[in-house]
């Protein structure tokens, strides 16, 4: 197969547009690598998790559960919930990639990340006829993928050298705190998040970490109710 100039140009443009995202992602990948090993995964498992799962927030979110030996079903349910935002991305991307072959669509699905999705959705409105836009998406995504694998590898192998007494596994929880902050931009989401935290504490004694699932369900319910009761005000004071 020969690449057409337009494909290469689109690939390059996508990679260049996404390059600034690496600044935020690389330290995050190193922390995830360190945290995976600190939580008790072997180095091979930690590297495999980054390649196979390729979802930083889900990788970090299961670690506190892995440490307390939560049931696998609960950890998988958590992965799914943390990744629900990808369902929205998938719905937005589907019409753009509809004409591609199945292997292309599988590849672009696997490699979707937040930052590149946001850039792509801003660059190509629905129905944009650009025939090379999937190359643009691939360029940005492949750059992010490579950066993520390289930075988690650094963390995985550096993490083995750090003494256990430093409690580095706590870095995964701190990473989640940094991650949750940009998500709680409107007041209804804040109420939902607070309710989820409160129920998680109250229900901590339930068997099989069912308290976690109860907390997530309560958080969603309270967030939706809050959004309905008090329509969001763009100019409301904090």
């Amino acid at each position: 197969m020969r690449f057409q100039p337009g494909q290469i140009a689109a690939f390059r443009e996508g990679a260049l547009a996404s390059a600034p995202l690496l600044v935020g992602m690389v330290p995050w990948g190193v922390v995830a690598g360190v945290a995976m090993v600190a939580a008790g995964l072997t180095q091979a498992q930690a590297v495999a998790m980054s390649v196979i799962v390729f979802a930083g927030s889900a990788q970090l979110a299961v670690l506190p559960l892995f440490i307390v030996e939560a049931p696998i079903a609960v950890m998988l349910a958590t992965t799914l919930v943390v990744n629900l935002r990808y369902v929205i991305y998938s719905a937005v991307l589907a019409p753009h990639f509809q004409h591609l072959s199945r292997p292309w669509r599988a590849l672009l699905s696997y490699i979707t990340v937040d930052g590149v999705f946001a850039l792509f959705a801003g660059r190509f409105p629905p129905g944009d006829p650009n025939p090379h836009k999937h190359w643009h998406f691939l360029g940005g995504s492949l750059l992010m993928w490579s950066g993520w694998q390289a930075s988690t590898c650094v963390g995985v192998f550096a993490g083995g050298l750090i003494p256990k007494g430093w409690s580095l596994e706590f870095a995964s929880t701190l990473g989640l705190i940094a991650l949750v902050m940009p998500l709680i931009h409107d007041r209804a989401v804040v109420w939902g998040a607070l309710a989820a935290g409160a129920v998680a504490l109250l229900a901590a004694r339930l068997p099989f970490n069912l308290g976690l699932l109860a907390a997530i369900a309560s958080g969603i319910a309270v967030g939706l109710a809050a959004a309905r009761l008090a329509p969001r005000k763009e100019t409301g004071k904090d």
């Binding site: 892995f66 719905a91 599988a106 870095a171 991650l179 907390a215």
Partner: protein
């Protein structure tokens, strides 16, 4: 479980499948379906709720019992991290500040 390598592999395979399904759900079948607004609202609230449901018990429980006091280094460090995250929006500063706070509280508590 944390000591059993085989369960780690099962977890990784399952998580890989879950992550791929969430990303592929509309793209892979080549769907033109639009998400109903109600579903979109629900999906928007889920990630923050899930993350908080993991964070809060990790800070405020010690061996399954409530430990809501200034003597709990993880709670103090976690609250410091929330403040840093809100003020700076920096992942690196949040993690560095939180680890520093954890160390300080432990040293001060002797």
């Amino acid at each position: 479980m944390a000591g059993d390598p085989s369960s780690g592999w099962v977890l990784i395979a399952g998580m890989g499948l879950a992550a791929f399904c969430a990303r592929a759900i509309f793209v892979l079948p080549g769907s033109r379906l639009r998400l109903p607004p109600a579903a979109e609202r629900l999906l928007r609230h889920a990630p923050a709720a899930a993350l908080m449901a993991i964070i809060v018990p990790d800070l405020a429980l010690v061996q399954g019992a409530w430990a809501i006091s200034i003597d709990n280094p993880r709670l103090v460090a976690g609250l410091a991290a929330f403040a840093i995250a809100a003020a700076t929006r920096s992942i690196l500063l949040t993690i560095a500040g939180g680890m520093l706070a954890l160390t300080l509280v432990r040293v001060l508590a002797g």
